[in-house]
Symmetry: C2
Subunit: 151 residues, 2 copies
């Protein structure tokens, strides 16, 4: 049975990230003959964290965006996800994932149980979370605790 | 592809409850050739809420359990879920759903996005919720806001 037509999966881009959520999303997309979109949201850099290496936060953020885009492209290439289905945005992950899901008329959001793009992030810290107001189903995929990314 | 072998769905038993989560769970169980368990958790009655109609809280709780069992059996009969897969327990829904999921080696918990057995209940009020520690995948199924149960 085909329930889902458009699936959005939150990607972490750490080199040692457990990518079970992406693989599960790929399988569900295949089973449902659905389109799969990937999303990665980069949070703005807090001003106080800026070191000496970059002349401005804007430059640093641009650099990070560029690196993330490269990483996302690599994953997209590996899993055969076309570039227009790779969404890379900057801001609040919680807000932007929900916003993009609505914009794209997503009917299933897949997130990991841990990590920066995982469940706890979407839930926020109050019981009346964004998730319970999401206009679609949400699947939290169990994953191993995030490795320390030493790479 | 078959990811799930044992699925547990949280049931609300209100007469006007939107049963999309149950239907979704049934479909996923069918697609995955998985066993489907239903669970309903009745919360203990706070002592101060006791009126004149019942001689004791124990009696009232027993009455509620009996009514719930009847309702569950009806649903089970309708959807062809055998009685040993209908779990009815009393206590904290959050704790007991997770506990039963572990005991039964459930690999997917399905909950609604609203209602007493819905997502917000499992999430609790802190970001480090029970859900993010659940040993399995969790699917929150979008449902309409709960109707007032006037019936």
């Amino acid at each position: 049975m085909k329930h889902y037509h458009k699936i959005l999966v939150g990607l972490d881009l750490h080199p040692h990230y457990d990518n079970t959520p992406l693989k599960r999303a790929l399988d569900i997309a295949k089973d449902n003959d659905a389109s799969l979109y990937t999303i990665h949201v980069i949070e703005h850099i807090p001003a106080y964290s800026l070191g000496q290496a970059y002349p401005s936060i804007i430059d640093l953020e641009e650099e990070i965006m560029k690196e993330a885009a490269k990483e996302m492209k690599k994953i997209g290439h590996h899993y055969n996800i076309s570039e227009e289905k790779q969404i890379l945005v900057m801001g609040s992950p919680k807000t932007l994932i929900i916003e993009q899901a609505e914009k794209l008329k997503i009917d299933l959001i897949v997130v990991g149980s841990h990590g920066r793009h995982g469940l706890s992030l979407l839930m926020g810290s109050t019981a009346s979370s964004v998730l319970s107001h999401a206009a679609c189903d949400v699947l939290a995929v169990r994953q191993m605790k995030e490795h320390n990314h030493t790479g």
